[in-house]
């Protein structure tokens, strides 16, 4: 718990300089953390980092434009901040970042699956972290889970566990989990034929309830109330409950994030019906990395789709 105390100290140190410090506190149950907006030392005492500090606090930064805020960031959160900065959506001088070496976060879907017959996540009354294990109490029994088995996919391929931009860095930087993104998740998906993939999306999207949680959780979806999904002029989508419209919305979301998405995975985590919506963005991120050697949030400079070069050596144009 040394890390937690150190972070709290860093938060308290910056509190007088900012409107608010954004981090995490405890959530509705022991398995869930939640965003925490700290304005006092008391608030800071409720700060909780660690395995359940899942939310990406970068989501809230554009709302604070014009005010000075500090934000506690995991490596992936820092990428989102980096991307917001490089697009000029937030100002560097208005944001102070507190970084720390992230050890990975939980994937609740995996926990639910691991619990299986043993019970629901809502029934968990206590959670203890013991080294590589999580010890859960539910229905009066203890269940030991291997942390590695319930860690989010993005953490399993994490190249940037230490916030790459930070004004204050607490703790020792840790080794990254991976040195490059092999997009193995896409490879699994792409083992399917084109027909199977189309059928896959048809089936997945038929579950979509058009709640737009994916969009609302995205730190880079800065259009907010003005999203084209619900506007009449322009009118890209009908409000019909059709797979076509629902899939098209996912395509719009992904396309608007091409060259911008940092892969934080909040969209997919937010989906109440468990549609793997991150896949589309991962596919675009792979193209963008391959074509323009650009990793959103990490590489500086203009995002690749807002600029060009006269010659594009990596784009193989069709000879006809």
């Amino acid at each position: 718990m040394g890390m937690q105390k150190e972070l709290q100290a860093a938060i308290k140190a910056i509190l007088p300089e900012v409107d608010c410090v954004i981090g995490w506190g405890s959530g509705p149950d022991p398995l869930h953390g939640a965003p925490l907006f700290m304005r006092s030392e008391d608030d800071a005492n409720r700060f909780a980092s660690g395995f359940f500090a899942v939310n990406n606090p970068a989501l809230f930064l554009p709302e604070y434009k014009g005010k000075k805020v500090a934000v506690v960031v995991k490596g992936c959160d820092a990428r989102s901040v980096g991307q917001l900065l490089s697009e000029g959506l937030i100002k560097r001088e208005e944001v102070s970042l507190i970084g720390f070496p992230c050890q990975g976060v939980v994937d609740h879907d995996k926990v639910a699956a691991a619990l299986g017959e043993k019970g629901e996540m809502g029934e968990v009354t206590a959670v203890l972290e013991e080294g590589d294990a999580l010890v859960l109490t539910l229905r009066g029994e203890t269940v030991r889970l291997n942390k590695a088995d319930v860690t989010a996919e993005k953490c399993m391929r994490c190249q940037y566990p230490n916030a790459h931009i930070a004004d204050t860095f607490v703790g020792e930087k840790r080794e990254p989990v991976a040195t490059a993104d092999d997009f193995a998740d896409l490879a699994v998906f792409e083992a399917m034929s084109l027909e199977e993939r189309q059928a896959f999306w048809e089936k997945e999207m038929s579950r979509c309830i058009r709640c737009y949680a994916c969009r609302n959780a995205c730190p880079l979806c800065v259009c907010r109330d003005h999203c084209v999904a619900t506007s009449r002029d322009p009118s890209w989508l009908t409000q019909a409950d059709s797979v076509k419209d629902k899939l098209f919305f996912q395509v719009i979301h992904a396309t608007h994030l091409a060259g911008r998405c940092t892969g934080c995975g909040e969209c997919q985590r937010a989906c109440p019906v468990g549609i793997p919506v991150l896949l589309l963005k991962r596919s675009l991120a792979r193209s963008v990395e391959k074509l323009f050697a650009y990793r959103a949030g990490i590489d500086e400079g203009t995002p690749p789709l807002l600029t060009f070069t006269l010659e594009e050596p990596t784009i193989k144009e069709r000879s006809w």
Partner: protein, 156 residues
């Protein structure tokens, strides 16, 4: 009014006004015969083409989409086609993930003088789409679509 059943496929073209639309005109003036499947939407510049127009067409039942603009360096607006090139290339990469054969979408450059080249492009692309056959249609929401059709007259 349906497509000539079994003979034609649905191919939508997006052409910039200054080069490629002119190239298609030049092909017409030269009487360079082409397959009849393609329907051309005229836009000022390939930079005007939001990749989502292409997705809209593909998800709405187009069997193929063809985009053509001015050759790099020749853009009437100096830079539009450079942006288009990046965006369209990225879009093409997304299609397989959606289960759409990327050969259903191509983009190219044809100048206003290249009538013959336009003929070749249309020939080749139409053939390519025919080889792939009709695209699989995504289901509409039938009951709502029917309702929408009934409400159509009220919209005005």
């Amino acid at each position: 009014m349906s497509v000539l059943e079994g003979k034609e496929l649905r191919i939508v073209g997006f052409l910039c006004n200054w080069c490629s639309y002119g190239g298609a005109d030049t092909a017409g003036v030269g009487r360079f015969s082409q397959p009849t499947d393609l329907r051309i939407v005229r836009v000022p510049c390939s930079g005007r083409i939001n990749p989502l127009f292409i997705m809209k067409a593909l998800l709405s039942g187009a069997d193929g989409v063809l985009v053509s603009g001015c050759h790099p360096r020749d853009c009437h607006y100096a830079e539009g086609n450079y942006y288009a090139r990046r965006r369209l290339e990225v879009l093409k990469g997304l299609l397989p993930t959606l289960g759409i054969d990327p050969r259903r979408f191509e983009y190219t450059w044809v100048s206003a003088s290249e009538g013959q080249r336009w003929q070749h492009v249309v020939d080749t692309f139409t053939q390519q789409v025919h080889t792939l056959g009709p695209a699989k249609r995504l289901p509409d929401a039938p009951e709502l679509a029917a309702l929408a059709a009934r409400l159509e007259p009220l919209r005005n």
